[in-house]
Symmetry: D2
Subunit: 367 residues, 4 copies
């Protein structure tokens, strides 16, 4: 399906960094869901570059909803939103860049698109496209909140500095969803930002780890094969630029644990089943068990750096040296976190609509 | 799509641990591909429990191909293979187990299937089902090898013991595909097996990390959104029971690297583009770059252990204690590795057929 | 998706006329649905050739359910049923038939499968495969009946003889579902059978029109684009061998009607909305309106006839003459009707599960 | 998938009659295909209402391509085009129309969308949306022509008047693609237009039959199950508003033919296989046989008429009478023909890309 994701609720994204507009079509959302422009704008603001640690490209992300919403409510038919690209220097149009930036998509895209790809500013591969995903996901995330399902992501690790672990999830999520730099420990956050600046000053970049928590998901959602909760979330997250790995619950730490440590004991609490630990991250056998869904992704360091790098020119198929000028993000992990929230929201809406029917997201019943 | 995976080449799996048969339908494979029964049997043997470190359930996995193959060649229409379940004690039929085994699918499955799930031996959630996936994947893996694409997986880590890193990939893959216990360093392998036995003797279990290498993939395969190579492989791998995470290339280590370390410089070698390092695991922007695809998954410790565990009874919704008897696998990571090979082969066949057309897998051209 | 149909409830079919077995996998059906072997057997009997007007190939269609059903109830995981091919002469194996039977798939299949297709008895293109579809659809049809949704098909026209129109739908459907030769007017049925025999005696074959009625479908099911009720039913029906057209409600007669005749006036009846006429066949804007769904398909005359026909040999690419011996069905329209019922049931189950959630088909609520 | 169609090449449509814009996203087209704005504009002109026989709503259909095309060539990533709605009276916004127009989607849509649907001008159900499909299909149709595949549709029948049959297909198609009122016999066309006007003058509307011919399709494309060529084309065509039936080749006339008449004899001609007749419409066993693909659809009379009609008010669930004022299309069959061309082009591009790979549509090779 390429640029479309989902079975019952689907999202299609489009656009290029220096094209006319980027955007998304969200189809299959229940009719009557409130679409809150402020909420969308807020999430776009959290994604937008800001301060010294981000690219100086600054756009207002003035999204426009051009279908599927009447009087602020979803109609049930496709919602299309577009975000015009501003701040684009059209002088770049003519020259096709053929010196591949290492660890960017330049070379692999050329293998696939044979030189016809839009190479201006990364084209369809640009992180810019994630703004469309954020806007689409914002609509989904808001809808989920009306059903008591909350999503929050923090920068768990950046440039070698760790944030504290999740504590009270509802409180932490609420707090994160307001923060421009999403950490639970602000002291750690300041250190991260200093480390990002330090790397930037050396023309370098840093990576990090994002951790997402989802509360309120009904149990019994997901499939044993192949559409496990982990599979669908991974499918989505691993398509976010720069994300190179994902782990659920205790994740890779499970490798060195014994079953007796790793297993999550169950017990009854207020008539509900709860797990004493959550090493499985809320999913057993691919299906939600009612515990919070917890996952972490790794975001690689921004490949654009300001150091000489060995590479090739794919027009001449010869060795080349790249010596980039200008200014880019020395880190994107702190911006990617809101992309991860939005992306997760899309996946959850799809799973829930498939499980409980297309009206469920706007039904009064809670889990 | 639930129990079906893929767009152009699809695999549907079915069956329960103690049902009549398990099996798979593979659709969309090019006509005229050789189906090598020995090759399939060999892969099933590598998956089968063996020795002291595995469950004593021993079955021959006498698969039967009941459609789609004539004279040992694919017809181009659906290939169905079934593996009858032998060694099944039918006395278990009557009692529905309602005491949830911690970190198994028992409770979450009950939330989804309302008590109608087949609970005998784990039912559709049993690792047994992976035999069908291995058989299906074996057909795909053999086909890929005719096109110069090779896949191999080793136990990178188990019970705290690490295998050596990949060296010469073709040589290592060839070697691994013959080994019952897939390590590159046999000494480490022996230590792992001892550690597994030690855990077993304490009624406990261990987990591990699997690392897969894929060589020979053409460049320019995969999509920028949402069907990146990483997304499709993750989707598949995270549906394998007990797999809780995946990482590509340098994976989570990228979090602490700087761009200048993480970026993979390119250079020309014999007229081809090669990367000096492979921190991106063969994929940029979701698209293959011609380098080997490298990924690792984490396999959690087998949840079945022989220790008392706190849990709940979901028929009565009360606290309960589980005190299991019998014998199960104290580790599955060494068996899961062939599942990972098979699963990867399915994903690659699908991506290649979508990219180059349905005949490509049986065309004479090499990349 | 090729041999798989559906989004939420999916059916995958496999097998060849002279292979080991044919069969189907049904995935996504709600757990706890009764699977009635007698009901399946009954539908298979109605499909099976019988009497002088059918091929003498007679098989018991001893289907076996090998997964997904425990104690006669669906588990919610994939249901696999296989029907072994009996009565197959294995002597045919060696020779590939390369003289194309006109209006069969021989030549087009060879273009697609390059000679690797199973050509014995039509292989995967044989009407035999429809037995698997009937068995799968029988499970769905039975489930729908528990929800008050009924499907029936009659031979509206055959060899120039017309059956009477539908009258009381529930009564007509009930009656048709028991009849070996499904007509509403038995006199017309006898004439049809005589006409079929007459054609057979001349080595020729006849076609016909099937009309299907569906009652009890909830309103508000289907999509405006592209998955309209008509689209999904057409997609399925036009994949049944020999079906070359479909029309809903007044169908092609609408071409010569004026809007004032064609429009279906609405009125209230017992608190429900009903249409005075049903020229739209129960669907407006792609969505059910609560009226019965009515559609007709055309079934072409069986292409196998016992007359000399001009054709080509695709191994030598030369002109050839086909002079077939043996005995085949001089008509299939009276057998195809149960295929149409089964196929419709699959489509409805999928649409309903997508609309109302995966549990709906086994929920106590009626529309 | 709802508002998205296709597997390898996909089209997503969106928009409402009186919303901001309508549009489409086309994904999966090969890179480097020329996008000819004149060609798109020409097809939009053919769809646009004109003369006395159409609605007076006249818009320029000033489409804008906002992604996926650079320098007039496809990039290979999603192409998004939007067509702003002009000529929209915003005064209509407030009142939700609850008196259902008979044979419109008003009532069924309300059942599905619970009153949240956009009811202004038919909303997402309006024929207006077909402009987006035409623009998307125009890109596909142009691409097919570069590969030697041509599509043309004529009004085979309208208001009881018949056009002549197809003769020389290439010549007829070329001619039709320029004609505002697409008939092969202009005399018949004049009579049709007079009959449409006559109906209009009586406040009534008429329907018709469209016949489409496709030449140049490679043989061996399509699937035996379920994605036959007929299935995919039917799926698409039956989602076009007002289309209620489809037939291939001799279609419903096959019902009264004998096999000896209906079978298409084959012969060699200039080294190629040709069929002497084409009763199967270019498809056998669901797969193209190299003959022209021929199909016909029935377009019901426009449901909007200017006569009193009995209906219901679904807000009060009471009987009501509709007495519409204003002016609408007394026929749409002559406009729908270009929609059918466009829709067919989308289906063919998808089938071809799936069969021969994603680059094929822009490869130099001809069939």
């Amino acid at each position: 399906m390429k640029n479309t994701f989902g079975s019952s609720v689907t999202v299609t994204i489009f656009g290029e960094s220096h094209g006319d507009s980027i955007g998304a079509v969200i189809d299959g959302l229940a009719p009557g869901i409130k679409v809150d422009d402020q909420y969308i704008a807020h999430m776009l603001t959290l994604r937008r570059p800001a301060g010294k640690i981000s690219t100086p490209r600054r756009e207002q992300d003035n999204f426009r909803i051009i279908s599927g919403v009447v009087n602020g409510l979803t109609t049930g038919t496709p919602i299309t939103l577009i975000i015009p690209n501003e701040n684009v220097k059209s002088g770049d149009y003519s020259q096709m860049k053929t010196v591949a930036r290492p660890s960017h998509a330049d070379y692999s895209a050329n293998c696939k698109y044979h030189g016809f790809q839009d190479s201006r500013g990364g084209g369809h591969f640009s992180g810019r496209i994630t703004a469309a995903l954020v806007a689409a996901g914002a609509i989904c995330k808001f809808a989920l909140e009306q059903k008591g399902i909350f999503i929050g992501t923090h920068v768990k690790r950046c440039a070698g500095i760790a944030d504290r672990d999740f504590g009270d999830l509802i409180q932490d999520i609420t707090c994160l969803n307001e923060k421009p730099f999403a950490v639970l420990d602000d002291e750690a956050g300041l250190q991260m930002q200093e480390a990002i600046l330090a790397a930037a000053n050396q023309g370098d970049s840093v990576g990090g780890v994002l951790e997402t928590a989802i509360t309120g998901m009904p149990e019994g959602v997901g499939e044993p094969w192949f559409d496990t909760v982990e599979s669908l979330l991974s499918h989505m997250m691993l398509s976010i630029p720069a994300v190179k790995g994902i782990e659920f619950g205790a994740g890779f730490d499970l490798a060195d644990m014994r079953g007796s440590e790793a297993n999550d004991p169950l017990r009854m609490e207020d008539g509900k089943v709860v797990a004493t630990t959550n090493n499985n991250g809320g999913v057993n056998g691919g299906i939600t068990n009612g515990m919070p869904i917890i996952f972490r992704t790794v975001v690689k360091p921004t490949p654009t750096i300001f150091k000489q790098q060995k590479t090739i020119d794919f027009s001449t198929m010869t060795d080349a040296v790249l010596d980039p000028k200008g200014r880019h993000d020395p880190a994107i992990v702190h911006r990617a976190r809101i992309v991860q929230d939005a992306a997760a929201a899309i996946v959850l809406c799809d799973m829930l609509a498939l499980r409980f029917g297309t009206d469920w997201l706007n039904s009064p019943e809670r889990r």
